[in-house]
Amino acid sequence: MNRRKFLKIIGGMAAGAGAIGTFRFLAPGEAEALIKSSNIRWAFLVDTYKCVGCGMCVKACKLENGIPYDAPVTRTWVERYVILKDGDVLADTPKGARDGFTSPVTEGRQVNPADIDKAFFVPKLCNQCDKPPCVQVCPVGATYRTAQGIVLVDRTWCIGCGYCIMACPYGVRFFHPVYHTAEKCTFCYHRINHGMTTACVQACPFDARKIGNLKDPNDPVTKVIMTERVAVLKDEYGTKPQVYYIGLDRNVR
């Protein structure tokens, strides 16, 4: 073997290693580094003190996102919790609060105001988890998390097996009555990426709902999440949910 031949072989091996390298799977750390290359991480902030249960957010969401108005499914909803002095907890969400809460009757019970310890409304929507179990269980790669943290569903690829609907601890997924594929809140992906806010945030008259970018330290939502007392739903599941609540109660499930 002369020197020229040796260099050719070494060069070929280096090129081959480089070519193989482009096809390898990403290690978790490398994937993480790629996620961080996005300078946006969408997060949601809900103030349960401000919510009055008018349900304008639910109405706006259904109309904005083409969810059949009278179908018993919705991407976002508002729950009412009435905690009584005798320890009973009443919770309901008639039609997902599409028409708001216009009656004090909760779970069929006429509640005497003097018996109420505390009562409040809790808007719910997809938590856009950092570790979304719904994505993990999808057998075909029809649902996925984008670089900016939003979990989306590919309607052309979903086979309708329903695993993701069962996997979500927050119950935010359902079958779309028209497309018969898994459906979920997208944080209005089409709006937030075009400089608008989500339909529910815009429709809320009381600023109970806000959306922000966790990677921008000057974002008012980020400032609240970082400096004030906020909680998330079902933290113990390890899904790293990204909808933060002010004034959450232990009775909220």
């Binding site: 990403l26 994937a31 009055v52 304008m56 109309l63 009435v82 809460f101 216009t102 590919d154 429709a203």
Partner: protein
């Protein structure tokens, strides 16, 4: 050909068929992408579908473009916090499509906020409202007397 080799060729043919079918069916942009193998396995082209989804709610600034009188009226009233489209419905491509918005003038719409619910730890308790709305002109739409753009008593119709 030996009968022992035939099944081997059959299996190879099936594998080849599966491989060819897969390259045809799976979209070219199907891959792992940013969120890694566990969470990022998808067809990249689908992100564009959601990006291109049509927004229907335009916000009050869009309304102000043609209806500045209505805009300034409600913005100077206690109802300034309410978006036009909450009652008027989504603008979509108004005035082209739809040429006229279907306004929700129902009592039920007003009662979403103006039924008094005595919940001491909720902002709902602070809103002006009826404990029993059926005692106040039942069956008549609120907007036949009250002006939602100026809901103070001086703005009565």
């Amino acid at each position: 050909m030996s009968h022992t080799w035939k099944p081997v060729f059959v299996v190879l043919a099936i594998l080849a068929a599966i491989f060819i079918a897969r390259t045809i069916i799976v979209p070219p942009k199907f891959g792992i992408w940013e969120s890694g193998y566990m969470y990022g396995w998808h067809n990249k082209a689908n992100e564009q579908f959601w990006l291109n989804y049509k927004a229907k709610y335009k916000g009050r600034d869009y309304c102000n473009g043609c209806h500045p009188d209505k805009y300034s009226a409600i913005m100077n009233s206690p109802h300034a916090i309410i978006q036009c489209e909450d009652c008027h419905g989504p603008a979509i491509d108004h005035p082209d499509n739809p040429p006229k918005l279907a306004i929700d003038k129902s009592r039920a719409l007003c009662l979403r906020c103006h039924v008094k619910l005595p919940y001491p730890t909720s902002h709902r308790n602070d809103l002006p409202g009826f404990l029993n709305p059926d005692e106040h002109n039942p069956g008549i739409e609120c907007v036949s007397c009250h002006n939602p753009h100026s809901p103070v008593l001086g703005g009565m119709r």
